[in-house]
């Protein structure tokens, strides 16, 4: 029994929460308590969670800014969707689903490696624009594909898994994604990854293989983005490449950032809430009011970020926040901190922008050892 007590339940709280959530809605759907639109929303939520959690590995834990997450999803959606469309008549539903999930994830992971390679050379802000470019390239290529291959601008028709189970499968996959990411982060490898975020130079000097870990993170993250893409292709009747523009990447980034840097639970909650709000606003604000949806979204976003980050509001934030309220009810040692959480204002190392305005055409400063190598020869 001692081993039972030594389990850190806190570490498993999010699995339990997600599982409970799934079971409740699974039961509801079996007894017929869910409308089709609700089921569709649940599928969307599962996809959003998976995207946010996988992006959170790159942004929150590795500390690199990626603006091309939708690109990986796009690769997964198209390849998984195509595989499904081809195999469906031959193999039947379940094997097709499994194979297309694997194909979508694997191809996206390969692209993750391809994008991870420049990440080794480029600093945060430059990497961000490269990932954005990658996403747009992928999208353009699929948009101009022939109608026989990937459907081109008309979109690729996919076999929608037209049952009430898809969201259950999706949530099971979310649990899998959660387990893998969380296990990775809460291990020595996760420590190595966060050390790169906190101080890359020190991480190198401490013998951390930065190259290896950046590649691992990009691979795992894009693998799950690919899986999410396959789920997306199953949940919709056609895949349109316009749905994977950089705007969508940014939407995922917003979920991660609002959830809190380096907080997987935060990403889950933010993804759920934002998707829920998005869908609900769409149903509430119809007709002439539909235009207000984006306006609300934008205003909420700006206010939340300014409230959470403005240096001038620091005192106010510290005096009134949920954690203090929580601590009042529960004896909580102030020293205790979550193992893998990071404060926003303490993650400045990688995504910093220190390029300087210049008017001179000076290709590079003379103080670069690389250049002197050549001069001395």
């Amino acid at each position: 029994m001692s081993s039972f007590n030594s389990i850190k339940w806190k570490h498993y709280a999010n699995y339990i929460a997600v599982a409970a959530f799934t079971i409740v809605f699974a039961v509801l759907s079996l007894v017929g308590g869910l409308k089709t639109s609700d089921i569709y929303m649940l599928e969307k939520i599962a996809i959003a969670i998976m995207l946010a959690v996988s992006l959170s590995m790159v942004v929150g834990f590795l500390g690199e800014l990626s603006l091309g997450h939708a690109g990986f999803m796009c690769v997964g959606a198209y390849l998984g969707g195509k595989t499904a469309a081809v195999l469906e008549p031959l193999l039947g539903e379940v094997p097709t689903l499994l194979i297309s999930l694997l194909v979508g994830g694997a191809v996206a992971a390969i692209f993750g490696v391809i994008i991870g390679l420049p990440a080794l050379r480029l600093r945060g802000d430059y990497l961000a624009i490269v990932t954005l470019a990658f996403g747009e390239i992928v999208r353009t290529v699929f948009m101009n594909s022939s109608s026989e291959s990937f459907g081109g601008s008309l979109g690729l028709p996919t076999p929608r898994f037209d049952k009430n189970f898809l969201f259950i499968i999706a949530f099971v996959l979310v649990l899998g994604c959660l387990a893998v990411t969380q296990n990775l982060i809460r291990s020595k490898h996760g420590r190595a990854i966060t050390s790169i975020r906190d101080n890359e130079i020190a991480a190198r000097a401490t013998g951390i293989n930065v190259t290896k870990y950046k590649l691992i993170v990009f691979t795992v993250s894009s693998f799950f983005a690919g899986i999410a893409g396959v789920l997306y292709s199953y949940s919709n009747f056609t895949i349109q490449s316009t749905n994977f523009s950089y705007n969508y990447s940014i939407e995922i980034l917003v979920m991660v950032v609002l959830g809190g840097m380096g907080s997987i639970n935060g990403s889950i909650i933010a993804a759920t809430l934002i998707t829920f709000l998005d869908v609900k606003l769409q149903t509430i604000l119809t007709g002439n009011l539909a235009v207000l949806q984006d306006l609300f979204y934008a205003l909420i976003l700006i206010l939340i970020v300014i409230y959470n980050n403005a240096p001038a509001l620091k005192g106010f934030r510290e005096a009134h926040n949920f954690k203090n309220l929580f601590n009042k009810f529960k004896k909580h040692s102030p020293e205790h901190i979550h193992d893998d959480e990071a404060k926003w204002d303490r993650v400045p190392t990688k995504i910093n922008m220190d390029e300087v305005l210049s008017v001179d055409i000076q290709v590079s400063s003379p103080y670069t050892p690389d250049k002197t190598d050549k001069e001395d020869k």
Binding site: K188, G190, S195, R204, T206, G207, P369
Partner: protein
């Protein structure tokens, strides 16, 4: 004469036309406490950066235990056995003290555990995690940070942050430990304490120590041998008493 740990041969680097360090010949023997001193801008930290692979030397070579490490990257050099601290402290600020040290233990062969083993929580993962934590605690005890092990490293006072950096470097099990101004910003009591700790580290970890320092009392009280640099060239080498009384050195410091 005991074994030579670090040997540099005509090591030098130039940035553009500026020769930051030139013709540096060092020989550091096993178990030595070696000091690198010199006025500001003398090229001391540049020497560290070359030895640890941050910069690639433009001339010369250097050897650790007879093995040529010139031109290798930082990670590889750390694996070979050179660890360092930084002049402007570089800790993993979002991690607790003990986790900083645990990162240092990452590459130790006895704590091997594959990525997949961690991802799928194989038993070896739990075993290594426990062992790493245990070892990190021991290291923290030696540098005197055992009490603060669960504090966030950025919340530590300055002197303790320096100690933590030393602990993290030590965790990589180096043959040569390079300390860049370990006593900077410490008060006299802390400095005396640090001298004691550095001696203890050398004895308990059987490590050779190369340090940069401005505090002459610190250097002469601690080091067995020193090299004085000025404008990238060696002014004097030898025991602290001899080297610091060299007329060239006095001229460089006081002016003339």
């Amino acid at each position: 004469m005991s074994k030579v740990v670090l040997k540099t041969e005509n090591l030098g680097i130039s940035f553009g036309g500026l020769k930051a360090v030139q013709e540096l010949n060092l020989q550091i023997c096993e178990g030595q406490l070696y000091g690198l001193v010199g006025p500001n801008g003398a090229g001391k930290t540049t020497v560290f950066n070359m030895i640890t692979g941050v910069y690639k030397p433009t001339t010369g070579k250097y050897y650790l235990d007879g093995e040529d490490l010139t031109g290798k990257n930082q990670e590889a050099i750390n694996h070979k056995g050179i660890a360092r601290t930084f002049q402007n402290i570089r800790l993993f600020n979002n991690m607790t003290v003990i986790r900083n040290v645990m990162v240092g233990l990452h590459n130790q062969p006895e704590f091997k555990c594959g990525v997949f083993a961690s991802m799928f929580r194989l038993p070896v993962h739990f075993k290594t995690e426990k062992a790493i934590r245990q070892r990190a605690k021991e290291i923290l005890r030696i540098v005197g940070l055992a009490e603060e092990r669960n504090t966030l490293s950025c919340n530590l006072p300055y002197g303790k942050q320096r100690k933590l950096e030393i602990a993290r470097a030590l965790a990589t099990n180096p043959k040569l430990l390079c300390l860049d101004e370990p006593a900077a910003g410490m008060n006299p009591n802390e400095t005396a304490d640090l001298m004691e700790i550095i001696r203890r580290i050398r004895d308990e970890f059987n490590v050779t120590i190369l340090l940069i320092e401005h505090d002459m009392k610190f250097v002469s009280g601690l080091c067995d041998e020193i090299t004085v640099l000025n404008f990238g060239t060696v002014l004097a080498q030898g025991s602290p008493d001899v080297a610091l009384n060299d007329p060239e050195v006095i001229k460089a410091y006081i002016g003339g």
